[in-house]
């Protein structure tokens, strides 16, 4: 009966879980992500559309600042691959210019909203108590505001530039992010590995930065991805209503402001379908990516 604790090598041989190749978290998340073919398609499309909008004008040069009233509404042809719009601008070039604005505003608004929302939610969740209660009432109030209505009012008054648009959209989006991050923080705060930091003498700050945030980062990234799609949609909605960025700058939504004219027969299809379809494809791509990222982060944590 003299058996003793087995030596380390024997333990490794006998009892160790099957030794997989030691891969980092990033690598393993990527693997799960890459299994999702839709996400890869989405990623591919995003890459394509970014190149299209930002590099496209280098190869397909059009004049986007001076109107050409002779050529209004010209149909697609060799000189103008997608025709011209009501002011004579080349439509394909306009798509690229509009795309730049839509994507820039979308990405920036998402970035601002998620950054601020994360900070706010993390502080609220970590401190808890009265601080949390007050901060969350503010978030509740923000979530109760009919965001589109207030955005419309703001657009009417201020005639915003793209930069102002970014902040305007972000101002309404961060509430949802804050609530989500606060929920995550509350959950993670009670996890024992956060308490363990205190037991070894670590500060609260260390807990948040080294332990809570890294474990919440998955949710945050997923949120950010969806935020980009939502921001693009919001911007396009405002543009359709005629309240987006002012000429000669444009975005995909503003290009659709002639939508009702189209239905009445005065605007041709090449003014309406291309921007609309690009909005749908771009947003759906971000959604595919976000969905796959959500799966990737979840399975990683569940692999026990």
């Amino acid at each position: 009966m003299a058996n003793v604790t087995v030596s380390a090598d024997e333990l490794a041989q006998l009892g160790a879980p099957p030794a997989k190749k030691r891969r980092g978290l990033v690598r393993r998340s990527w693997d799960v992500f890459a299994e999702n073919r839709l996400a890869l398609v989405g990623l591919g499309f995003i890459v394509f559309i970014v190149l299209f909008c930002f590099l496209g004008p280098v190869f397909y040069q059009t004049n986007q600042s001076t109107t050409d009233l002779i050529n209004t509404m010209c149909p697609p042809s060799g000189g103008h691959l997608l025709g011209c719009n009501e002011l004579g601008y080349d439509q394909l070039g306009r798509l690229m210019a509009g795309g730049q604005t839509s994507i820039e505003v979308g990405l920036a608004a998402a970035l601002v909203a998620v950054s601020f929302g994360t900070l706010y939610g993390a502080i609220s969740g970590f401190f808890g108590g009265v601080v949390d209660a007050v901060m969350m009432r503010v978030v509740d109030a923000g979530l109760s505001l009919p965001s589109l209505m207030v955005l419309i009012i703001a657009a009417v008054i201020f005639h915003p530039s793209p930069v102002v648009m970014i902040f305007a959209i972000a101002v309404f989006y961060w509430f949802a992010v804050a609530r989500l991050v606060r929920g995550e923080t509350l959950t993670l705060r009670t996890r024992e590995y956060v308490q363990a930091v205190k037991v070894v003498g670590g500060s609260k700050l260390r807990s948040v930065i080294r332990h809570v945030l890294p474990n919440a980062i998955g949710t945050i990234i997923v949120q950010a991805t969806f935020a980009v799609a939502d921001s693009i949609l919001t911007l396009s909605g405002l543009g359709f209503l005629g309240l987006g960025v002012s000429a000669p700058a444009t975005d995909w939504g503003s290009m659709l402001s002639g939508g009702l004219n189209y239905l009445q027969g005065s605007d041709p299809w090449w003014l309406i379908y291309p921007p609309g379809i690009l909005i749908i494809l771009t947003c759906i791509s971000f959604n595919f990516i976000g969905d796959a990222l959500r799966d990737a982060f979840e399975t990683r944590l569940q692999r026990r």
């Binding site: 109760s144 009919p146 209505m149 207030v150 008054i157 209503l241 749908i280 959604n287």
Partner: protein, 314 residues
């Protein structure tokens, strides 16, 4: 239960107060001052002085706030010079029509989305699931107004199955009496909502199907149908109820877009027209109303949640 109700109503009131403070603060952010904002850029100095005194904008903020809230509670939401109507009467005129649209759209999306969500969860990874998932993703990614445009283009302009405009009348009954004209607006409105409910229901049912109590129900001899509809369905519904409460801003936004596209004479179209005309009274009044509706909606959703989940009540 009573205690829970009181607490929730208290919270709702606090939120309402904060929100109205925010709205009033927004008014003050207008360039040129709040009175100018309310009256427009062409107001004469006399008008400005008169209304400044009338609304008390020369008084401290909290006094203005109390006065304003007092007025609102009495039913006075402002007056639109451009339309020569009080905002309240405008609301009385247009709100019922918007409610018809929103109600129909929400009900249709719920009636389709919830059962299909359950179906997707039960038959996950089947062809049907993938197809419905694809449709949901499209629903998330398509701007509501664009979908409306497409529907009109395909079903009204190019083909003539449905009329291109929504029924245009000031009477709700007349509107309801022309169902064909309501089909496209309602479908366009419901598309995004359908995507939301079916997705959430799918994920909620999937979560519940692997819970222990389902195994117990099966161990008692319950059939799959009894398990799904007798046990899982109700427990999955709670997430939808909360979601319903939170999606009021979405419901409002959808109404604005659809009414503009289909020229439907509800509050959304009125709001849009007010924006074009820069009619601040209408804009503000409608915003306050929509906000109050959202707060009440959230409260009702919480109460609904408590009714579905006894753990919250006791």
């Amino acid at each position: 239960m009573i205690g829970f109700l009181i607490r929730r109503i208290g919270q709702a009131l606090i939120v309402l107060v904060i929100v109205t403070i925010i709205v009033l603060a927004l008014v003050h952010l207008f360039p040129g001052g709040p009175v100018k904002a309310l009256l427009g850029p062409r107001a004469t100095p006399q008008q400005l002085a008169y209304y400044t005194q009338l609304y008390g904008f020369d008084k401290p903020f909290y006094e203005q706030y109390i006065k304003w809230v007092g007025q609102m509670l009495q039913g006075n939401l402002g007056y639109s010079d451009k339309l020569n109507q009080s905002v309240t009467s405008l609301i009385g005129q247009d709100l019922p029509k918007t409610i018809v649209l929103v109600l129909l759209g929400t009900i249709v999306s719920l009636l389709l989305g919830i059962p299909l969500g359950v179906y997707q969860a039960v038959r996950r990874y089947s062809i049907g699931d993938y197809v419905l998932t694809g449709i949901s993703f499209l629903g998330y990614a398509t701007p509501t107004f664009f979908f409306g445009l497409l529907l009109v283009d395909w079903f009204a302009v190019r083909t003539h199955i449905f009329p291109p405009f929504a029924p245009n009348s000031s009477s709700v009954l007349t509107i309801l009496g022309d169902p064909r004209a309501l089909v496209l607006p309602v479908v366009a409105y419901a598309f995004l909502l359908f995507a939301l409910w079916s997705r959430y229901m799918r994920s909620s049912v999937m979560d519940n199907l692997v819970q222990d109590y389902v195994r117990t129900a099966r161990a008692k001899g319950a059939s799959e149908r009894q398990v799904i509809w007798g046990h899982v369905f109700r427990n999955s519904l709670v997430s939808i109820v909360t979601l319903l409460g939170l999606s009021l801003p979405t419901l409002v936004a959808g109404a604005i877009f659809i009414e503009v596209v289909f020229n439907y004479p509800g509050m959304g179209l009125a709001f849009y027209n007010a924006a074009e005309q820069v009619d601040y009274q209408v804009l503000l009044g409608f915003t306050v109303l929509a906000t109050a509706a959202t707060v009440v909606g959230n409260l009702l959703a919480d109460i609904g949640y408590a009714m579905l989940d006894p753990r919250v009540r006791y």
